[in-house]
Symmetry: C2
């Protein structure tokens, strides 16, 4: 510490506290230090910290004992990173954060005002600058939920999100992408589709999200197979080499506000249709895509529960995409049960490898759905005539070309790993015989999340049955995996109260 | 520390960390401790802590260095208090917090479902139990904002809030209370009204809130004059002695969820009509009132901006009150400018003393409005015939009986103090001559808040002019007070960008 600090100095010296508060930046100062007194700070206030060249808004925690010296301001890891990793002892000035002016637009929205382009931009820019506290982010997410964003507002938010981050550019005229609206556990088609499409010479630089409320996003699953946190330059190198990549979108600063919004949506188990469309389309535009295939699974316990809602969502997706200059094709698919056997990053990755390697044990539903989506993309990219995409996709898979392409992509991203299911497992058996009649996707997803997915990549579920299967009493229905005993117990607790995860109906004789 | 802790123990030892996180309970544990590993904890997760006899949900912070030993769980002040102030080293078990089931009702509300009595009770009970994180509380507050609670929902929330706390009972048939919907800075009539009414033998055990988004609530103002944090027994003693009290509602556990909701509303600068009515009526019912007078100031920059909205609010207040068995009378008053000179706890208290002491310098508008409200209550309580309440109120004030009654109440609450305006002040002068044509109540309130009110009780504004006053260039308009130089500077900063706090219009000749 700099011992020359006089009591009258209006700054504090930064130290790294070694405290993980996730993405929320936090700063700790003594309640009786000169800055706290001069500024009249209260606990949990939002304060602006600035050094000679960086600026950040963080949550203030007041320390009331002498574990922290009076002349220090101790930063959580998130705060330290976002201030550019300042050296120990760097001078910093702390002030009350200015009221976030764009929050008045969020409040206005609750009273029926709309987001025009200027308001959308102000909100997204303030979120991007880290000016929104978690409480304020939660109010924004909640204000948008329940279909309260109309088409123009969705387009305005989409444009603001694109403009707040990097935008990739590729030389090709056709740059393919795909997206699944989700809500269906497992359903990990993307790595297979990308491999098939890229093996046919089309460009598909795929960036994916982490899970919002599901047990795994494509980025979470791919992370069990290779590195996904590619910087922009590394991503370009991978795409140059292989015509494709399978990267995490957050690490290349595409639509960077999205991850901040997603974190709150996850905590609330809530996402809005308009915000969902803005999130999807902004990521695609920022990734430089020209043609996008969007899969909307529909089922009673999927995210989209009726054909009617699927058509409404398709409409909003297509209109927003068109406004942003994107070509979009939408597939409405069966969302009544998971696709594939595994739910959770490592277990899904195992399914993906089996399909790509033409393993006889590979889940056929995942194989079929991947071929269907790859076929559509091959046709959109003009690698196949309309109607002959499926044949080409299947040939690419059977010949091993897709698997080789997948290996090339993973090698270029830093090497191919073997996914590791969690060491703790527990099998659930049928209590009576009958026919598998119903999967509660939401309960399955919740169960896998409680077991630790996606943060624990080996956690999740392996399904042993499909809709329509006949089972006897005592037959295995699914196995629960976890990386920690506590998490396994926690998931089993949930199962105690929710027996209707998979329903077996006795056959009428 | 207990050195017998084996690595296999499934508990940690509690220590008090000396960290003020306001009302948010936080627990710090090492990221590499056995409990964090066994449970698979992530930073910022909600965790349940239980000791042998207490239970609490807190936010988890992971410590990544050795400032904290592996076998300890360090509690923030709020967590420590809510766990019943456990002794150093007490054993505690930490687990993932169960998902808060009632959040599904909050999500449902966003999609058009309604709160019935069971749902309202589930939400309020979970909030009361401390199960809602700040993010979840923010979603609840936002979901209710924008007039989204209908009458039945408002009644359901009101009943749930009453049932979650204590309910006071008084022997009298008539127990009077009053409330002002707010939004008007200053307007501190309550202490004067209570003194006049109680001096005439009526029972008025008044509990008040702290400020929501305003620079002071009645409890904040009264706190500069006497003790307001009375326990229930002390409050009863004061009321027995004097027929009245002027206490903070939060300290007697009346509608305890209200303060938790208010904290979030304040952070968002947002409150909903339904939640406002639930808050007001639940407090009155819980306080044991039978007859309540409600003042709704209306003005372009008051909380209620039009007669139409005032009538809608009156309707909701009266219907909800009736459902809860309360008699309510509503006064719609002029909210175009502050009432009284002072804005902020100490400055408002000074006005109150001047009126009660028949000081010649006392603000006449505050005096008149207090007499009007006291008159209505004297008539509601049958101490005066209809039409003669005003005469009785004025006599009570002029004779000194009201002041003596106020002194008695303060003495019974622990003594009468002199309010102290902040030591830092700055006078704002008219830039040109003319007539005072407009007060922006919101800007005035914001300015007083930025200067530190209500947390700094001496902070605020003293007004030197009223609507219609003629002023010359250079005449003093108002003086800003603060307790810290930083806060004064911060408020003056705001003034730089918002010159239209008080508008002077030049007269046409």
């Amino acid at each position: 510490m700099n011992s020359s600090t006089s009591p009258a100095a209006d700054y504090l010296h930064l130290v790294r506290m070694g405290i993980d508060t996730h993405q929320q930046p936090v700063v700790f100062i003594r309640s009786d230090c000169h800055v706290a007194i001069a500024e009249g700070f209260n606990a949990n206030a939002q304060v602006e910290i600035h050094t000679t060249d960086q600026r950040l808004v963080a949550q203030l925690v007041l320390v009331t004992n002498d574990r922290l010296p009076c002349e220090q301001a101790a930063l959580s890891e998130a705060a330290w990173r976002r201030l550019g990793c300042p050296p120990e002892g760097e001078k910093a000035w702390l002030h009350h954060a200015h009221p976030v002016e764009s929050m008045s637009y969020v409040r206005g929205k609750l009273y029926g005002e709309r987001f025009d382009q200027q308001r959308a931009r102000a909100i997204i820019n303030d979120i991007h600058a880290g000016l929104y506290s978690d409480i304020q982010l939660s109010a924004y997410v909640t204000a948008c939920a329940g279909d309260r964003l109309d088409t123009d507002e969705t387009i305005a938010i989409t444009r603001a999100m694109v403009d707040s981050g990097l935008r990739l550019e590729w030389d090709n005229d056709v740059v393919l992408d795909k997206h699944c609206v989700g809500g269906l556990p497992a359903n990990r088609t993307t790595p297979i589709v990308v491999a098939i499409v890229a093996a046919n010479g089309l460009l598909m630089p795929k960036t994916s999200s982490r899970a919002i409320t599901s047990p795994a996003g494509t980025a979470d699953t791919m992370e069990t197979l290779t590195h996904v946190q590619l910087g922009f330059e590394q991503m370009q190198q991978v795409v140059e080499k292989t015509g494709a990549c399978l990267a995490w979108g957050g690490s290349v600063s595409l639509s960077p506000t999205d991850d901040m919004i997603i974190r709150i949506e996850r905590a609330l188990d809530l996402d809005s249709e308009g915000q969902l469309v803005a999130s999807v389309i902004s990521k695609k535009v920022a990734a430089g895509a020209t043609h996008v295939l969007i899969d909307i699974p529909v089922g009673p316990t999927a995210k989209v529960r009726s054909e009617e809602k699927a058509h409404k969502l398709r409409q909003l997706l297509e209109t927003t995409a068109a406004a942003m200059g994107l070509q979009v094709r939408t597939v409405i698919s069966d969302g009544s049960q998971p696709i594939g056997r595994g739910i959770g990053p490592a277990l899904e990755a195992r399914d993906v490898l089996q399909v790509l390697q033409n393993d006889l044990h590979a889940p056929q539903d995942l194989r079929q759905k991947s071929l269907q989506l790859a076929a559509a993309l091959l046709e959109m990219g003009a690698a196949a005539e309309p109607g002959s995409g499926h044949q080409l996709a299947e040939r690419t898979l059977l010949s091993g070309a897709a698997w080789q392409q997948f290996e090339r992509i993973c090698q270029a991203q830093g090497g191919l790993k073997q996914p590791q299911p969690g060491a703790f497992s527990h099998c659930i058996y049928a209590s009576h015989g009958g026919v598998v009649a119903y999967f509660n996707n939401r309960f399955l997803a919740r169960l896998a999340s409680l077991a630790g997915a996606p943060n624990a990549p080996g956690a999740g579920i392996e399904l042993h049955v499909r809709l329509g299967d006949e089972v006897r009493a005592g037959a295995p229905l699914f196995t629960l995996y976890a990386q920690a005993a506590g998490e396994l117990a926690y998931a089993l607790d949930f199962l105690d109260g929710h027996t209707d995860v998979i329903r077996i109906e006795e056959e009428l004789v």
